[in-house]
Amino acid sequence: MKMEEMSLSGLDNSKLEAIAQEIYADLVEDSCLGFCFEVHRAVKCGYFFLDDTDPDSMKDFEIVDQPGLDIFGQVFNQWKSKECVCPNCSRSIAASRFAPHLEKCLGMGRNSSRIANRRIANSNSMNKSESDQEDNDDINDNDWSYGSEKKDWELKVTLPFILLSYTAKKRKSDKLWYLPFQNPNSPRRSKSLKHKNGELSNSDPFKYNSSTGISYETLGPEELRSLLTTLMFLFQQCGVISEHTKKMCTRSLRCPQHTDEQRRAVRIYFLGPSAVLPEVESSLDNDSFDMTDSQALISRLQWDGSSDLSPSDSGSSKTSENQGWGLGTNSSESRKTKKKKSHLSLVGTASGLGSNKKKKPKPPAPPTPSIYDDIN
């Protein structure tokens, strides 16, 4: 059947029209058949009469078409002028304001608990003459009204655990950080700590204790909070303070906008001359390293004044010096400065820990040798 033989141009229009009519008739018949099948199925399955209603209901729900009413027959502004009586305070309140009023009246909404907390905190701060900064909304959102004492307790108890979690479940790209334990003889004893939003608070966040390092009990709640946020920052984030906004850069440790020098400078500024940049590259076998390091950290955080290190710190020779300088870095960083004895002794713990582990494949950023000259 070749198409050339069947050219339609040879036909007159009536034939074409007849063909068109036929096609149309076919299509209509298809539709009718389809409809029949649908009806038959509905009858057999029992849902054919499902959308019927009796004439009474039909009258009830007839569409209303009067001016001033909607199609359901309701008046538009009916509830604006109505007044309700509050069951709590027995006042008569406008309907549209009833819900917020009830929330405040019963003291059950989010806002009312916030206000109550603030009032309590204010009255507490007036007694203690502390400044109250509500920059941490998460604590306030709890709907507790235990007062600020609870918050202090929370922070002091959870802070070591939070730090532990940072060390224990390490990402492979993170280095281990210890809390900076300050040397009592160090000239830089009091630091000013910047808040996340750039405000300066001139409290001394690291109230040193010659035997234990940081003592948490003397830290106020604000200082603890700021300490926590700063540490969280500097563990995992770039942290370089931008010139324009005075805020810390929140990008990763490998942020291309800032150099390692800047990051180191920021950490030195906050954490004292013992600060070391957290290492970005990581070895493949960091896990075993991390566990022993976290044990070391746990032992460091003992508050009984002893600075025992975990037994794995066999390589450290000058444990007495480590009392003041608790910053550890990964062993590969110490590789470069092995010539400097002071550096070795400082990171003796870390190198002791790391010496048994596999080294990092890539060389890390060059550390600042001058940091550890203070020990000598």
Binding site: M3, I19, Y24, S31, C32, G34, F35, V39, F49
Partner: protein, 102 residues
Amino acid sequence: MVVSKMNKDAQMRAAINQKLIETGERERLKELLRAKLIECGWKDQLKAHCKEEVIKEKGLEHVTVDDLVAEITPKGRALVPDSVKKELLQRIRTFLAQHASL
């Protein structure tokens, strides 16, 4: 000769139908027709007619497809509004004109 002409016609119709299906035009036309019939209320009319037939004549239990088809199809054909019919025919003619030389 008449026979051959008729055969030719039949062949041509078959060819046209084949073309319709191949290009997907048949499906499109069917969907278009269905949509238009629902829009214009043809389906609801037919359903109401169905209800009367079903309730009146056979009773709900004894409805068969054949009965339904026999009753509904002529009514359905008649109920198609003219506008729908015209539009559909127009489209079919356009299609035939496009493929006239093929």
